[in-house]
Amino acid sequence: MLKLLSKFKFTEYLMIILSVILMYVQVNLELKIPDYMKEITELINTDSSTMNDILKQGLYMLGCSFGGLLLAVIGGFIAAYLSSKFSFNLRNRIFKKVQSFSTSEIKKFQTSSLITRTTNDVTQFEMFIAMGLSMIIRAPLMAFMAVGKILNENIEMSILVGCCVLTLLITISIIMFIVIPRFEKVQKLIDKVNGVTRENLTGIRVIKAFNAEDYQTNRFEEVNNDLTNTQLFNQRVFAVMNPIMTIVMNGLTLGIYIIGTFLILNAHMIDRIDIFGSIMVFTQYGMQVIMSFLMLAMIFMMWPRVTVAAKRINEVLDEKLSIEDGSIKYVETEEVGTVEFRNVSFKYPDADEYLLNNISFKANQGDVIAFIGSTGSGKSTLINLVPRFYDATEGEVLVDGINVKEYKLETLYNKIGYIPQKAVMFTGTVESNVAYGNTDNEITIEDINTAIEIAQANEFVSKMDKGIDSHIARGGTNISGGQKQRLSIARAIARKPEIYIFDDSFSALDYKTDSVLRKALKEYTEESTMLIVAQRIGTIINADKIIVLDDGECVGMGTHKELMENCEVYKEIALSQLSKEELENA
């Protein structure tokens, strides 16, 4: 929490100090108002006073009030500036930090959580600062100064004010004590209501097929009842709060009147007017004191939520990067387009078991290397080591004869065209998506068109109303999954990489497009190396080298023909997809 706040700059600290001073003056001015009020009261009850005296006091009052307003405006501006500047900077820092993350950090936090941390959590914090700069400073200032004022004024009435504050604070504490644990329960129950409804929606066909509508309804009603009852309980407890608050406030006024009456009746004539004035003042000050304590209570209620937000933000900012950038920028390498694994093993940092065990192979320029195996066999993990989404735990991964860790990431990525399993689309146009990351304008319009053609995307891009300038909606929702995948492949082609990495990128395409696309790509880039992870035998049947993975071990390496003869696992996979004759015909 404080750690985040310590990021303020010197000038910003000055502004904070300035706003404290402003607040101090403002509170002083506001507390003057009841004083003038008292003057007026006394003037009215003194026969000898004139109209001018009263008007003068009234003007003072207005002056103080207006002065307070002006200071509040300046203070408000500072608070708004500081808080929005703060959130601006914080968002920027988080975003940059996340950009430097590797896949393992992203996985650790989960994308959705990172998004809320960058947006909601920061907003929480921002609100806290915006309110804090007024409330946190103002409430205690007001409370202490108002208490100071009344203590000098009249001891009996001060005790009454103290009692009222105490009553309120105790009530609030008790209510919070009862309710806060149940708040968490409510949150869980809301999640449950959501969960059952989600189940209902995703399984609507199954539920209907089983005529199980009533069954689901009963399950829903159960959580619905739970939720309603818990919430009802909470709100009932809260229903006490409002009446108690009004009673305390009204009681305070009445109490001051009653005490005042006693004091007046037992006082000398000369003191009576003064006491009478005190009654008027106390009803005002007392209210101020109670209000500021209420504000303080509110801050305390906000506190836990903000600390949680701060903790979540700090977790991101403090995360140690698992991937460090290398230093090699531009080198003429001896080898071009080669990928080599030398005894590579991999496990997640805090895992016991290895996901990949002692993998070695080499891909030469222009080779098509395919990886196949059941889910969890480690094939995606394996190719993720090339673009350093993770680093090998043991052994070396070499690109063009140099360990990937030694490259500057930017240099490494310029050699690689990576296509993920799930196509990623950015808001923009077809063109901006295909030419993504084209900061130096190295990708020409011809490159884009060729890429689209090879990726078999021309067929639908040409039908779109503005061709390559057609709009792509957020997340690519205006085109189909297969179309997205084709554009995503086009994006890699347009960058003319030495090495293509297809992480199961063909599954979203139908068989026909899949085969035509691969054929066109092969013709276009004879000398590009391709690493392909696939599920379908048909996709990889013609690869130069197929690497069969099972539980992280390489259990076979060779061409389709070779593997059919000597690799049991491969044969099993192949037979589950194709019949014997088909395989023989292939």
Partner: protein, 649 residues
């Protein structure tokens, strides 16, 4: 304090939605009225209190004026208990007082009077009346608080039960909506209606209605009471407050623009963050990081600017409110003082007005707040009602045919079926086919060819436009949906399991199934060993953790199908998201499930397709070819092309 970051939702038809909302509260109308009346009473009591407080003040201020007049002077003179010396002193003091202009000095002189004389001159205060007023005020405050409390309780009860009913209604509605609705709407959208919208309605309705009633009562009441007390003061207080409010309205109007802008910018930024974060790998490998940071900076800056303005302006509300309050307060004091000095009013009236000003200004802001809240209630309830008003499944009362699932042989005939998801676009044109009991029908086609359409029609999830589907001689038009569902086992590829035990999931809607039968089904599909290894066996919970693999989940859904034991089967064959070995297990289980049943299989494996009695080839939703493998191959049409494409060199 205005809430930051809250979207201002405008309803399309505020009046209509509110009317409907109120009428759907009809179960609670009596309670609602009671609660609102209580709120009103509580407010009215609150209004009479200042008046009493004013009397109270006047009674106290009686204690400030010494009781010196002809009568008291005579009484002192005639009192035998007062000695002559004191009387003489009194007369001297009286003379001095007459000359003295300064009140304070007068009082000092009076204080110096002998005790016995002082008792006569000291101000007369009606102590019993003060006592009475104090007790009256305490009771008023207490009664008002109790009313308030009861009213809160009732409103809480109503709003929570109303929310519960709304949730139930939505949940029930889900079951009676045609599938078309779900194919066209996002899950997230419906979910947010169940939770967010219902919450908004429940919470805000609770607060807004009573706040509105209280505020209006206070507002009108305070005007009446002010005029009743003193009309000059009333006009002063009202004008002063209204000047303040116009001022505030101007600022509010200005800030609205920034609030809207802030919301848009926040949305843009969120969208961008989501996009970049979820495409992290692509952004990195395309070296798009620099670009991304630049773009983010740009959006972030835009947000920063309107964020600052909107925060600044919304932060102003509080101080301005304070100033408006003080302004009214000063006006009341000054004008009141004038009137007191001219003996038009007593001092107590000023005290009363100081409270009235507050009672008059607070409701105005509260009403504004309540109205914004009601706006979002209206918007949310519109979304809820819109959902509740969606067209439901067609009425089945006229249907009299029925088929007993134990007696059905398993014959299905498609007769000139025509169907389209939209009226203007028919996708299945004139499809006819005939299947015999126990046959296997494979449905094939490229992804997105609409293989689920056939399932939709068979299960009567959608109704055909023309033609007929005849099950064992009975048209599906003449069978209820429930009846048809009873005849079919459906096992889909996206394994749907719910949060519960394995037993619950297998048993599902068949409460009479014994554990023995469940175990038998598990054994058949090859699950029993696995279930025995789980802690709790059949009672093991199914959750998101990895203890149950995708393939095993699929096996559970197959076991569920086994239990159902119906004559027809619709099966979505597993594709490659299951590892090879489990896939084999799943395949075996599926083969067992198909035995003896007329099966429709959305096929992915060529062996299944080749063994099928009938292959239906789909493209763009329509069935373009049908026949067995060899016939279709020799036709050299789409099927042949599809089949060969995998092996093209």
């Amino acid at each position: 304090m205005p809430r930051h970051g809250k979207t201002m939702e405008k309803s399309k038809d505020f009046k209509g939605s509110m009317k409907r909302l109120i009428s759907s509260l009809k179960n609670w109308h009596v309670l609602l009225c009671t609660s609102l009346i209580l709120a009103m009473l509580s407010a009215i009591i609150g209004l009479t209190a200042p008046n009493k407080l004013s009397d109270f003040t006047d009674l106290i201020s009686d204690g400030l004026k010494p009781n010196i007049n002809e009568k008291t002077i005579n009484q002192i003179m005639e009192d035998k208990n007062i000695n002559e010396k004191d009387k003489a002193e009194f007369i001297i003091v009286m003379d001095e007082i007459k000359k003295e202009k300064d009140t304070l000095k007068v009082y000092k002189k009076i204080d110096s009077l002998p005790k016995k004389v002082f008792d006569y001159v000291k101000p007369k205060v009606n102590e019993s009346k003060i006592k009475f007023l104090a007790i009256l005020l305490i009771s008023l405050y207490l009664v008002s608080a109790i009313f308030n409390f009861i009213q809160n309780l009732i409103m809480t009860y109503i709003s929570n039960n109303f929310a519960k009913t709304l949730r139930s209604k939505i949940s029930n509605k889900i079951n009676i909506l045609p599938l078309k609705y779900f194919d066209e709407h996002e899950t997230g959208d419906i979910l947010s209606r169940v939770t967010n919208d219902v919450d908004t309605v429940g919470m805000n309705l609770n607060n807004s209605l009573s706040t509105l009633v209280t505020s209006i009562t206070l507002f009108i009441g305070s005007i009446i009471m002010m005029f009743y007390t003193n009309w000059i003061m009333a006009i002063t207080a009202m004008i002063a407050s209204l000047i303040g409010f116009t001022f505030m309205g101007l600022i509010l109007g200005k800030s609205q623009k920034y609030f809207v802008q802030r919301q848009t910018e926040l949305g843009n930024l969120n969208g961008y963050i989501e996009e970049i974060y979820s495409g992290h790998n692509v952004v990195k490998t395309c070296n798009g990081t620099k670009d991304a940071i630049l773009e983010f900076d740009y959006l972030n800056k835009k947000l920063y600017k309107c964020n600052m303005m909107s925060q600044f302006l919304s932060g102003l509300m509080h101080p301005i409110m304070g100033f408006v309050g003080n302004f009214g307060y000063v006006a009341v004091c000054v004008v009141g003082a004038l009137l007191v000095m001219n003996n038009h009013i007593t001092f107590g009236v000023i005290v009363a007005f100081m409270i009235y000003v507050r009672l008059f200004t607070n409701p105005l802001t509260q009403m504004a707040q309540a109205m914004t809240n009601l706006q979002s209630v209206a918007a949310a309830s519109e979304r809820i009602f819109e959902f509740l008003d969606e067209k439901e499944l067609s009425n089945q009362d006229h249907i009299n045919g029925s088929l007993d699932r134990d007696k059905v042989k398993g014959k299905i005939e498609f007769k000139n079926v025509k169907f389209g998801y939209n009226n203007d676009k028919t996708i299945i044109n004139n499809f006819s086919a005939m299947t015999q009991p126990g046959q296997k029908i494979a449905i094939v086609g490229p992804t997105g060819a609409g293989k689920t359409t056939l399932v939709n029609l068979l299960m009567k999830f959608y109704e055909i436009d023309s033609g007929d589907i005849i099950i064992d001689g009975v048209s599906i038009n003449n069978l209820t949906r429930e009846n048809i569902h009873k005849l079919f086992i459906m096992v889909l590829q996206d394994t749907w399991l719910f949060d519960g035990t394995i037993r619950d999931n297998i048993k599902f809607n068949n409460p009479d199934v014994s554990d023995d039968e469940i175990w038998a089904a598990c054994k058949t599909v090859g699950l029993s060993h696995f279930i025995k290894t789980l802690p709790g066996g059949l009672d093991a919970k199914i959750d998101d953790s990895d203890s149950i693999s995708q393939g095993q989940k699929q096996l559970i859904t197959i076991a569920r199908g086994m239990i159902e034991n119906a004559p027809f089967l619709i099966l979505d064959e597993a594709t490659s998201n299951v590892d090879t070995r489990t896939e084999e297990l799943v395949q075996k289980a599926m083969d067992k499930l198909m035995k003896g049943r007329t099966s429709f299989i959305i096929a992915h494996r060529l062996s299944t397709i080749k063994n099928a009695d009938l292959i239906l080839v789909l493209k763009d939703g329509d069935i373009i070819e049908q026949g067995d493998h060899d016939t279709l191959l020799s036709k050299n049409g789409f099927y042949a092309e599809l089949y060969n494409s995998q092996f093209k060199k």
